[in-house]
Subunit: 162 residues, 2 copies
């Protein structure tokens, strides 16, 4: 038998919520994993403090989707309510089909407490077509950690911003 740290049960809630400053260590690790995946670690110089200063400036943060926006995807057997007033989290039951062995589960334990584990993120920011007078969103990063791929979670992240 595996422990529950290694194998998560197949029926879980997937939660997409607005990231905040407490998520910075996870965001930093996720971006680094993405750089490894893209074989671009030589271009990676972000630090936890530079991410915190630029993504979550303390003075007058703009509402989501009006400036840089990071959404965090978590899996949890029992999602706790997120009380951020500016973005209602998206919660969906997901059938993972098979148990998932996640050696990094502890490192990616949700910053918000509870029993969630961070499995991916999306980072986007607004763009604008002046000819159409139409705001849009540019997706800079979309990433799901390796053990959680091919289960529709990337699609769920994409549809949260598309």
């Amino acid at each position: 038998m595996e422990t529950s740290e290694q194998h998560r049960p197949p029926a879980m809630s997937a939660i997409i919520r607005l990231a905040d400053k407490r998520d910075v260590p996870h965001i930093h690790r996720l971006i680094h994993q993405m750089a490894v995946f893209e074989r671009l670690t030589h271009l990676f110089s972000a630090t936890e403090s530079s991410l915190a200063a630029t993504l979550f400036p303390s003075s007058s943060p703009p509402p989501p989707f009006r400036s840089f926006t990071v959404l965090i995807l978590e899996l949890s057997p029992s999602p706790s309510p997120d009380l951020n007033p500016s973005f209602s989290p998206i919660v969906r039951e997901v059938d993972l089909k098979s148990p998932i062995s996640d050696p990094d589960a502890e490192a990616f334990a949700s910053a918000g407490g509870g029993d969630g584990v961070v499995v991916g993120f999306v980072l986007c920011f607004p763009n604008y077509s002046s000819f159409l007078a139409k705001p849009g969103l540019y997706i800079e990063d979309i990433f799901v950690r390796e053990p959680y791929r091919r289960r529709g979670l990337g699609r769920m992240l994409l549809s949260a911003v598309a």
Copy 2:
């Protein structure tokens, strides 16, 4: 002798200031002139009301350079102070070298009153490199009206955001 409407004296102040809702008719005309210049009028569908609704939403506008930002370039013999607290206008004396004949001077009279004439604009919005944890600005549009070109005004607009 030409009238002062047609010929502006060569010594003027160039002012770059944050656009506001009153500038929408000028912004609309400027974007249309840009579409004509680029031979892309078939892609142009912005209206004054769609620009106003998207560029200047009435609820909680974010500070300049944190979302879509439009800066207006005006020429004026006697610039009036701009009291917008979130962006100090850039004012510079410019030597236009030769008088400028501007058939559209009346249509582009400054929305802020005074004797300024709108001669160009820049529209930009933030972008972000996650690998570098570095915010940037994407310049969607930069435009100087035809009679005012080749006098360093485009460079002045560029340096206001670069």
